[in-house]
């Protein structure tokens, strides 16, 4: 039996890590906005951000192709700035995985921020602190457990993304073939042992993450 090619796994980890970074930044900002600011269309924004969670991944992939493709607004802007395109590259896979994982982060971040007693924030304001300092020194640390749990969920989701990634980034071995896609590819080609190896590694990684997330939120309830 030939050695299993683990490069799809490394690509998956790289894509999931980068998309989690993007998702955490955007998700915390959106979660805070939804939890702490009253504005017109707040619930509509929440619904729009949550859509990827309920839509078939192919629908998400379709939207992303339209947006990120050479004719799409984001794709054109990206190409003008960097000289390369987004679709059918690993960067496209990062965007696809991020779009799928964002709802999980936004939902948990909104709940985590809403769970911080506003009296602490008011107290910080009366002590002369700017809104940014209030957020960074008070809201963020007090919401941190929930935010970390959200980031872990987002990472696990990004690690396992299949449909949207396949549509946006394609299935190019060594370049855009992530673990989830490589498993599909291997079973289609009858390389069952390769598929099994990747399945086991991916399952173990996801389990470890979910277990850690539960431990974190359980610790949060104890205190």
């Amino acid at each position: 039996m030939a050695a299993v090619d683990l490069s799809p796994l490394w690509l998956s980890l790289r894509v999931a890590t980068l998309s989690t970074l993007v998702v955490v930044l955007a998700g915390v900002a959106l979660g805070w906005l939804l939890a702490r600011r009253r504005f017109f269309g707040r619930e509509a924004l929440d619904a729009a951000v949550t859509l990827p969670l309920v839509l078939p991944p192919t629908v998400l992939g379709y939207y992303l192709l339209v947006l990120l493709g050479r004719g799409g607004p984001v794709g054109r802007a990206y190409e003008a700035l960097t000289g390369s395109q987004l679709v059918f590259t690993w960067r496209g896979a990062v965007v696809a995985a991020a779009a799928g994982a964002l709802p999980l982060m936004v939902k948990t971040a909104r709940a985590a921020v809403a769970g911080v007693d506003t009296q602490y924030e008011d107290a910080a304001r009366t002590l002369g602190k700017s809104e940014w300092q209030v957020f960074r020194r008070v809201t963020l640390p007090l919401a941190s457990r929930g935010l970390v749990a959200g980031a872990m969920l987002a990472f696990a989701r990004a690690l396992g993304d299949f449909g949207a990634t396949l549509m946006v980034a394609g299935n190019i071995p060594g370049r855009t073939q992530t673990a989830a896609i490589a498993i599909y590819d291997a079973t289609q080609a009858g390389r069952d042992s390769d598929a099994l190896a990747l399945v086991l590694v991916l399952s173990a990684a996801a389990f470890a993450l979910l277990y850690a997330t539960n431990r974190l939120s359980a610790a949060g309830h104890d205190s």
């Binding site: 602490y120 009366t126 602190k129």
Partner: protein, 362 residues
């Protein structure tokens, strides 16, 4: 000097509408819960926006609806001690105070925070988290934190309500001493008469969003200007009655107080405007009523009533004895008096109080 004039409608039933000035020193905001005391503090701090009004501290405008000025909370320099303190749970006591100490080098911030904790007698708790300190210590840490931000005004929202009496009585002298040094205008919200009297200074009495009376607390409490103030300031005996006779020459009138089940009790009160047959209310402070074990003679007090003890309630500082005599009177006595007179339910006693201890509200 803190000047507050504000109006805020908070629903069809309640409008906060107050106007007062607080010189350096303690101004007690006194009133029942829901009367608008905390809302006033929130408005001064900038956490509640009035519909209209003007507020200033040390001549600096904090809010002026006519000129469209609404200084953000963070730039008002108003120290606010919340009722449940709001100490940051993820920081130690020292870090809480340091956080408030402003944009100065870390060493300086730490030094300032430490000296404030020392000044308030809680330096030993510096390294502990809020949940690891006692209620009294948390109170002092929160006060240190408010002061670390160099406020121009200090707002204290029932700061001692969560504490046991002994701890409470120890903090008040410290608070007074501290404030004699700082000379800040302090608004102190409470519904405890003892606290108001211990703090002294000035009191503003709130009633359903408005100011019912203001002045030195001992004066307000000794001679309540209205029935509501009497009720708020803890005058225990307030009865409905009817004027039976007026004696213009003596400056007194006789009032029959109506008790439960047709019982009545006649008392002599100072002459008021009410004519014979008019309904009035009579208030007497429990501390103004004497209890005698035998019928007293040769007293100047014009009201001497025979009655029977119905209950004895031990309070923290005194004992309240309820005596049935047509109506149920409450008289406060010391523990020694309670023992010497062997006051117990069922015992026959005489009550005595002066005509001028009675206040009549028409």
């Amino acid at each position: 000097m803190l000047e507050v004039r504000l109006r805020k409608r908070l629903g069809p039933e309640f409008t906060l509408d107050v106007d007062f000035a607080a010189p350096p020193g303690v101004t007690v905001l006194f009133g029942a819960s829901g009367s608008g005391k905390t809302l006033t503090l929130r408005a001064v701090a900038g956490l509640l926006k009035p519909d209209e009004g003007r507020m200033s501290a040390d001549g600096r405008v904090l809010f002026d609806s006519d000129k469209g000025i609404d200084v953000p909370v963070a730039r008002r320099r108003v120290g606010y001690l919340f009722q449940d303190l709001a100490l940051f749970p993820h920081m130690t006591a020292l870090e809480n105070v340091e956080f408030a100490a402003g944009d100065v080098p870390r060493a300086e911030r730490r030094g300032r925070a430490m000296s404030l904790l020392e000044r308030l007698g809680v330096a030993h708790a510096a390294g502990r988290r809020p949940r690891e300190v006692s209620g009294g210590e948390a109170q002092r840490v929160a006060l240190a934190r408010s002061l670390a931000a160099s406020p121009r005004v200090l707002l204290l929202d029932e700061p001692l309500s969560a504490l046991d009496e002994p701890v409470r009585l120890r903090i008040i002298p410290d608070l007074k001493e501290l404030n004699e040094e700082l000379r800040l205008p302090v608004l102190y919200v409470t519904h405890s008469r003892d606290e108001a009297l211990l703090l002294g200074g000035r009191a503003v009495i709130y009633e359903r969003g408005r100011i019912a009376a203001e002045g030195p607390p001992e004066e307000l409490f000794a001679a309540p200007a209205s029935e509501t103030v009497a009720r708020l300031t803890g005058v225990e005996n307030i009865f409905d009655g009817v004027v039976i006779a007026r004696d213009d020459a003596a400056g007194t009138m006789a009032v029959e107080l109506k008790g439960a089940g047709g019982a009545a009790c006649r008392v002599e009160v100072p002459l008021g405007r009410a004519g014979e047959g008019a309904r009035v209310r009579v208030a007497v402070r429990s501390g103004d009523i004497l209890i005698a074990a035998e019928e007293p003679r040769g007293l100047s007090a014009r009201n001497v009533l025979r009655g029977r003890v119905s209950s004895v309630e031990e309070r923290s500082a005194h004992t309240l004895v309820r005596v049935e005599s047509g109506v149920t009177w409450a008289a406060s006595v010391t523990r020694h008096a309670l023992e010497e007179l062997a006051l117990a339910p069922g015992r026959e006693v005489w009550l005595a109080f002066k005509t001028y201890s009675c206040r009549v509200y028409e």
